[in-house]
């Protein structure tokens, strides 16, 4: 045994040194990078940023550029507050399940996470997250004049509120808009559609599969955030109401008309494969020049303008959702927001709020968007003021004609907080509806049968 000792000691020594270097080295460098000047805009807030210094919190986000940009700024947050943030990246498909499991078990693993606005009803029913007004109104925690809560885009705020109370602070969001090929539209003398009817006839005019151009594409794959992301807008535009009194209703004449429009356009003018497509597939097909128009999240603009892959840069323009027969436009009000996990001890909750306040402040939003040094810029900043900033507008208009106007118009006027049914049972309802929509699209069931069946399945979920 003795003969091993020197070796082991050497090993231990080298190992410890290496480990210390690996953990402290980069941290030291990063700390050095956060200069005092960097922190000045934050220090002008009349709060003690250092009040819970020494805390460590874990934040779950999805692997997306808008969060990556935030992660690179984390050393500034550490220098400002003395709070360590550990980021965990979880793909969007799993983050909902992982956070629900964490919240149910009350382990407090994730102090906050990128939360789907449709889940707040569930979170609140279980008292898993904190109402944020407590933190917003606490003068020792928030400098209202500095944070300017009213500047946060109202549509996304309302999406993250239940009964008028806010539970998640929007960090990055999106609206649905029309994206179209202006060269193809111009060639046929077409205008972007103002109504769903006109959208259908535009699609018909442009649909030439023999030249490998299809008229339109909408999300077809089943899922609460997939086909059930697009269909609710159509349903609302056809005059549908999710809640009739106390009863959640998914069938009826408006629903049938809405689903018929969706199935019609998908079957006649979308590539057959679109029945199984989600937004990245649609954006890819559009960027390859095979789709003349689609309606989807405005954030897909960055994919279709990727200079390495896109063949249609400079040929893209945008418009708002076409109006439905009810005269309404209904866009998505979807965003990733940050709630506070109720299972945390008080100090950690404070630390989490300081993190949320920092991440969603106008300053950090600008630093992760047009002021970000890296190549990827965000198109979903949460501040009205930034959407009016000439530098940001210039950057965004690089995505194509009318991008900022269409997005801002949608954000301000086309939103509808009841776009999708906001009830705790949403995960089950969304999935059931998604399956019904797809069975109608694939011809497995008629439109009426699919909707009636969904209604039958949803009723017991609502009765409890």
């Amino acid at each position: 045994m003795t003969s091993f000792k020197p070796t082991r000691r050497t090993l231990l020594k080298t190992g410890t040194a290496a480990a210390a270097f690996a953990t402290l080295g980069p941290a030291f460098l990063r700390q050095a990078a956060a200069q005092d000047a960097d922190l000045a805009p934050y220090k002008s807030a009349q709060i003690d940023w250092q009040q819970v210094s020494g805390e460590t919190i874990t934040v779950a986000v999805i692997p997306a550029s808008y969060f990556e940009n935030l992660i690179t700024l984390a050393p500034q947050f550490k220098a400002l507050t003395g709070i360590d943030v550990r980021f965990e990246k979880i793909p969007p498909a799993q983050i909902r399940q992982k956070s629900v499991i964490d919240l149910t078990s009350k382990t407090g693993t994730y102090a906050t996470h990128a939360a789907d606005p449709m889940y707040y009803a569930l979170y609140v029913a279980n008292k898993w997250v904190e109402p944020l007004d407590t933190y917003l109104n606490d003068k020792s925690l928030t400098d209202q004049a500095w944070f300017k809560f009213d500047d946060v885009i109202p549509a996304w705020r309302s999406a993250n509120g239940i009964n008028g109370k806010l539970y998640g602070m929007p960090y990055d969001g999106e609206v649905t808009i029309q994206v179209y090929r202006k060269d193809l539209y111009d060639a046929k003398g077409l205008k972007p559609a103002d109504t769903l009817e006109a959208y259908m006839s535009n699609a018909a005019a442009l649909n030439t599969p023999n030249d490998r151009i299809w008229g339109a594409a909408l999300r077809g794959v089943a899922g609460a955030g997939q086909n059930m992301y697009i269909y609710p807008s159509i349903f609302r535009e056809f005059g549908g109401d999710w809640m009739k009194g106390d009863k959640l209703t998914v069938n009826g004449p408006e629903a049938e008309a809405a689903l018929a429009w969706y199935v019609d356009i998908m079957k006649k003018y979308a590539p057959t494969a679109a029945a199984n497509w989600n937004w990245p597939d649609i954006a890819d097909a559009f960027s390859q020049g095979t789709v003349a128009s689609y309606i989807d999240a405005h954030s897909s603009a960055s994919v279709i303008n990727n200079p390495e892959k896109s063949k249609i840069i400079g040929k893209v323009a945008y418009a708002r959702w076409p109006k439905g027969p009810s005269g309404k436009r209904t866009t998505s009000i979807w965003n990733w927001g940050f709630p506070i996990n109720s299972a945390l001890p008080e100090k950690k909750r404070k630390a989490t709020w300081l993190f949320i306040q920092w991440a969603t402040s106008a300053e950090t939003q600008a630093r992760t968007a047009h002021k970000f040094a890296g190549p990827t810029k965000r198109s979903g900043v949460n501040r009205t003021s930034i959407w009016k900033d000439p530098d940001y507008i210039k950057l965004m208009n690089g995505f194509g004609d009318n991008f900022v106007e269409a997005t801002m118009g949608a954000l301000q006027d086309d939103t509808d907080v009841d776009w999708r049914p906001r009830v705790p049972q949403w995960p089950a309802i969304g999935d059931t509806m998604a399956t019904a929509i797809q069975s109608a699209l694939s011809g497995q069931a008629t439109i009426k049968a699919a909707l009636d069946d969904a209604q039958r399945r949803i009723e017991p979920m609502m009765r409890g």
Binding site: N126, G220, A273, A275, N276, P427, D431, T435, L441
Partner: protein, 311 residues
């Protein structure tokens, strides 16, 4: 401690050989038990305990979306399940999926094995190439098929179908074609397993029986039916049992290719249990579905094992 003292004493006093052996065996057993204990405990903790917990959970209403309704309900989840049309549909889909993939794997695997047995050269290469699909992750296989192979207008299979004059087909968007597609994908991935097992078995068949059969002027078909098949029977039954158990609980490939769609056309029971538990957050009912799947698997493999022993 006392036993140890005695045994040492016995060893020291050179006890009769049989006694010595017995003691040694006993000590060995105890040593083996000590060695096994951690693994055994780990096994209990990771397999038996979750299984019991699953059965326990299935007796509760545990709905994360409506926590105020949660509580012990006994067999109610199972009553709901028996009346749930979607459960029966998914069970049927599971059985069709399992039956057709297993049959295809055995037939194609056996055909390939017979072909390869007759190959004079390149057998080794063929074996290496054939085994490749097995080592891929089912989720990756699913992604490859979904995006590169089966997408209408854009995929390779569709390109071949158009060139063969069949026209473009909506492989994953049509209920029947989607089922055919997922069966084809599973078969594509797992036939090599059947192929390897059957090939090994074929290689070990005694040549002299065939020699005798040839002298008796048995035709190739007769030799196959009367000699090869009966001798391969244990191997075939083994393949059927193993593949059936895996196919019944298949998940990843279907999940990535169709996620059970279109509608519920490819929703096998395992997928339905997953969706109930983790998408709809009805953990109790999802557990009951999982238990049902367990029971079905046990029954089917029980029947298969019985068939293996029979004759």
């Amino acid at each position: 401690m006392a036993t140890t003292a005695v045994t040492s004493a016995e060893i020291a006093s050179e006890a009769p050989r049989s006694d010595f052996g017995r003691v040694l065996a006993q000590r060995e057993r105890r040593f083996a038990a000590a060695l096994l204990a951690p693994a055994f405990l780990a096994l209990l903790a990771t397999t038996t305990f979750p299984l019991l917990f699953l059965i326990y959970t299935s007796a509760f209403r545990m709905d994360l979306a409506m926590p105020f309704t949660n509580g012990f309900i006994g067999f109610e989840n199972y009553q709901t399940l028996l009346a749930d049309e979607r459960f029966w549909t998914s069970l049927l889909v599971s059985l069709v999926y399992t039956g057709s993939t297993v049959a295809l794997q055995v037939i194609v695997g056996l055909a390939l094995a017979l072909l390869v047995m007759d190959m004079k050269r390149g057998q080794g290469w063929f074996r290496i190439i054939a085994i490749l699909p097995v080592v891929l992750s089912p989720a990756v296989v699913g992604m490859i098929w979904r995006t590169f192979m089966l997408a209408p207008e854009f995929g390779i299979v569709d390109y071949l179908a158009i060139n063969a004059g069949l026209g473009s087909k909506n492989w994953l968007g049509d209920p029947t074609l989607a089922m055919v597609s997922v069966v084809a994908i599973h078969t594509w991935q797992w036939t090599p397993f059947a192929f390897m097992v059957l090939l090994a078995s074929l290689a070990s068949l005694p040549e002299d029986i065939y020699e005798a059969a040839r002298l008796d002027r048995a035709s190739a078909w007769q030799r196959f039916r009367r000699i090869t098949l009966p001798l391969l029977r244990p191997a075939i039954v083994m393949v059927v049992i193993m593949r059936t158990m895996v196919a019944l609980t298949a998940f990843a490939a279907i999940f990535t290719v169709t996620a059970g769609g279109p509608g519920t056309a490819t929703e096998i029971l395992n997928l339905y249990a997953y969706r109930k538990s983790f998408t709809e957050l009805s953990i109790g009912y999802g557990s009951a579905l999982a238990v049902a799947l367990l029971i079905v698997t046990i029954i089917i493999s029980g029947i298969l094992f019985a068939m293996r022993r029979a004759k």
